[in-house]
Symmetry: D2
Subunit: 336 residues, 4 copies
């Protein structure tokens, strides 16, 4: 951690700050320049509240040199984390060289629909089934999901196909309903719902943590840290595009986040090309690009009747389209 002092700070003020910092358990190295004094802080700096330091009248600014996340930090955990989802012969691994495709509809709509799609996507190579039961919609007047009933239908689809199920939670108060969900998703809008993250940290169950609408990589990894610091280390990150100014695509898919996150952290990272682009015609090329960039998996929207999907239909593939995408992705994976 680097603290740059303002001009004209007195020696007494400097000593007082140095003493306080040393009392916090950090070493202080001092570089005195003509215009500026710089303190290099070494040691347990993650304990120091950077806002507090920044708030001091004599400080110009403070910069962290080492990342403030610990559990999620590759520096302290050099090996890739492998997350196991589901159990028995249908158990799926993600991370550390294990690649998987999660597929399914935006929303669970009926037993026939979800079982039909589950069978379709399983046939084409998906090993996990996604489906929204609780839906975070921008408008209160749009379809909000089948909620508890949707979860029940997902369980039926799992029973029919063996595919572990992935679905989004919107509030810690629904946790009872999610007891046998195999992979619980935290959506982009809840990435900094810290009370929810803490509750998920107490579970012994994998969490799929989507990147916030315009979160930095550091904020994202700090949200993972919220879960991990409570004890749950089974986290899969999911890049799903960040806010942009160009109306042609819903978001900007930030694929450089994949290798960058892998440098910073040991957690697996997958990509959602469907929500990222919001356009069916871009899903194939972005699935291939994400795989080539080193993603540990994909989550793709598939609908058996895109003409009548209750939400986000514009980005859903038909099962035929999905089969084609899964095939191309598999060609790229062979290069790894």
């Amino acid at each position: 951690m680097i603290a740059v002092l303002k001009n004209g700070v007195s020696d007494v003020q400097k000593s007082s700050l140095i003493n306080w910092l040393r009392a916090q358990g950090v070493e202080v190295h001092i570089c005195e320049g003509k215009f500026q004094t710089i303190f290099g802080l070494i040691g347990e700096t993650s304990q120091i509240d950077i806002d507090l330091l920044n708030g001091l009248e004599i400080i110009d600014h403070v910069t962290r040199i080492s990342e403030p996340f610990k559990c999620a930090n590759r520096r302290f955990h050099p090996n890739d984390t492998i997350v196991e989802i589901g159990s028995g012969k249908n158990m799926v691994k993600i991370g550390g060289g294990n690649f998987a495709i999660i597929a399914g509809p935006c929303s669970v709509e009926s037993e026939e629909q979800i079982i039909g799609i589950a069978e379709d996507v399983k046939r084409s190579g998906a090993t996990l089934l996604r489906g929204g039961a609780f839906k975070p919609r921008t408008s209160p007047y749009d379809f909000q999901g089948l909620r508890g009933e949707g979860l029940e239908l997902l369980r039926k689809a799992r029973k029919a196909t063996g595919l572990p199920i992935v679905t989004e939670i919107m509030s810690a108060s629904h946790l009872d309903l999610f007891e046998d969900v195999d992979l619980i998703q935290v959506g982009a809008r809840n990435m900094q719902n810290f009370e929810l993250l803490k509750e998920l940290g107490k579970l012994n169950k994998p969490i799929l943590l989507k990147r916030g609408l315009s979160s930095t990589l550091k904020e994202w990894l700090m949200s993972a840290e919220y879960i991990m610091s409570e004890g749950n280390e089974n986290i899969i990150l999911c890049e799903r595009g960040i806010r942009s100014y160009d109306p042609y695509t819903r978001n900007v898919l930030d694929l450089a986040a994949i290798p960058m996150v892998k440098e910073l952290s040991h957690l697996p990272i997958i990509v959602d090309p469907s929500h990222a682009t919001g356009k069916r015609s871009l899903v194939e090329s972005m699935s291939m690009a994400a795989t080539a960039a080193g993603a540990d998996g994909l989550i793709i929207e598939v609908h058996n009747d895109p003409e009548h999907a209750l939400c986000d239909g514009a980005q859903s593939l038909t099962p035929e389209q999905f089969t084609k995408v899964a095939g191309k992705v598999s060609e790229i994976r062979k290069l790894f």
Copy 2:
């Protein structure tokens, strides 16, 4: 609502879509061009799920002409909403020409601290007291607030000074603790925590809804709509800066949002210059600018000992600085 069809759609497909739309209760006007066919949809279009339409194979794209919010829409409620906070002689009005300043520390730290600041800011013209008890911090290792104890200290400060209290809620599961909070704040990170918004919609208590980290005005007003559609119409919006790429300020304070929101909606809107800029030295000028732009109030961080604030100290004013700001703001208000 405007639906633009793809090239080469057959007459049968067009008729089928027109019949479906009419069955939804909307009128369809057809403009046939050489390259494109456009449908103008008139009537109850807020019932139509735009994603569903966009998902149809024959549709190029769909655009809403009228805003999808109703309760929050000035078109249907031309008069300014006036929100009343607290009761009796300390009751404060915001909106419709009523301007108020909310002031106080980022975090409640001790009885002495919060009562001291409450007395200071009351003396300088603040009519509401803010103070964080539950703190949404990016890092799980940073100070998280005194929680229930902090709320108790706020109540003591209200008793001592008469100032109604404003504080942030982070989860619907804490609602019991917030029963006698005068103005409940929803923070930027929870602006799209829809389950929380729905619960707040069932209360008969004013809500301060901060703008999300990079939310559009439409998304923000749709979040207000989530609360209002459940029955609670006492909402004050708060602009607090949006994400930007320039490291000099924490966020970009979007002051044009004030007159723009006032065109779109009847809800009052206030400004938080402290969190928006993250810099103490910018709070005075941004308070003046926000007032000149037509804001209905301000929320400003004040600390009696900024050198030791437990969080966000860099942006807190001393009581002396606050007095100066409140005076300048009051000069500007005289012009309205």
Copy 3:
């Protein structure tokens, strides 16, 4: 083009507008709703100045339905453009299934350096040589390039290796010096230097048009249109990342722009992973991802002595690293 009228516009005003629009040569279809009147404008709408229409007191807003670019528009030119660079046996094609790698140093520094790198990258599969002679640097105190002398050194490297040369122009007043450059690059900062674009439109020489720092796809294609409308249709687009808020990478590489641009336009599009990320460690995975996304080529920074590069060294590969990247890219290309 869609024009939405304000509420309360009189019939006289409507008729007057309709007459004026028809005099401009467009058909007007009228959709009258309870709250709004919508005009659908059909025909030669690219001649209509959208700002002029938006400026009318009776207009709420105007939206273009068809894209305002013509020469660059795939609708009117369904086949991929293939750009030919250089001549004779060293001629290189880009677009329409032809893929090429441009490689070389950020700046030309010496004859030994540029010829050495040219030989290195040719050996590894690059078919064009890049090198900056005129350098747009944010600071006037940073190295500005060898200018005319740098161009001379590039010509020597071409003579030595046969590789056609690619280099950036910063002002139309330098055009004489660029007469025998094979592919003239317009940098991101000059993407809307319209006077320069018009001059380049008068040449019979391929242009590499980089995307602006935060330009939309439409603005980018309109800049291509500036060149094409003067007669020069040999344009290659280059995605090089757009501005973002996350400090880990220099820009956000927008790979979805590749398939999106290919839907909108017939022009070839290549990717610059070096400038996009600003990090050597991300160049390999982003080169693979761009290729998998369907790019028509890559432009990669390579330096024979990255420890002493005069600019942008952080993102340059060594020749050994480049060889590895070129090999992986070639594996991905086999899937196309």
Copy 4:
């Protein structure tokens, strides 16, 4: 300047870097930590190319502590710069407490139009006349300005009213035509047209430098530095909004840039509320807010017949509206 070394750098490599840095004339202070070594560089660091340092294999990253601009830096020039425009009794000062309003149409269209508006805005308190002769339009098919003829009409309006004239230059090759323009404007799209900036640096004439579409404050001040380092110190900065994701306004007006720039630099800064918002209805409140934020002036679009403006009509005020805005701004200025 702070250089953070990678883990595992050998002592030999460290010594070699230290020697090289000292040879560049900077002092090196070394902070050795358990995980990281930090070098604090003190002295003439603006001579060091930060990209070069970042490019070294042993460097993790480098951060500048002091700003890289010198001529524009308030640290070295504590007093406000006052720019004088025009001469004799019509001379106008901007900066250092001097406030001025520049007004006029987006484009010069005819002698009658420009003289009429000039007389109107002069009567209402504007002391400088703006008008576009060379127009940077996104589309090559939109009106490009009257060019030389427009400049001639501006001169006639100056003769008729005495108002100094302000107009935009798009290429150094037009400099001859701008010889007697009183204040030469560099538009947002040319903020990093460095060849143009250098030419303007050789003039003895005030320059109005608009902020780039999404430029940082540092990039903007470095562009000013390009002009100043050539000898021309008469620069007025102009905030005109930065790119955003919200379609309701054309850009986000960043008013916090005003006090922030004034901390960093001694140059005057004015605001363009017309282009920033793109909406006539927002110009009044944003003019008031900019003035309250401490701007040194405003540049406002006024048209005598907004219904038929040839460009950007949506944001132009009528002379009556302008008179009202100028009156309100003058009330706010009395508080300064």
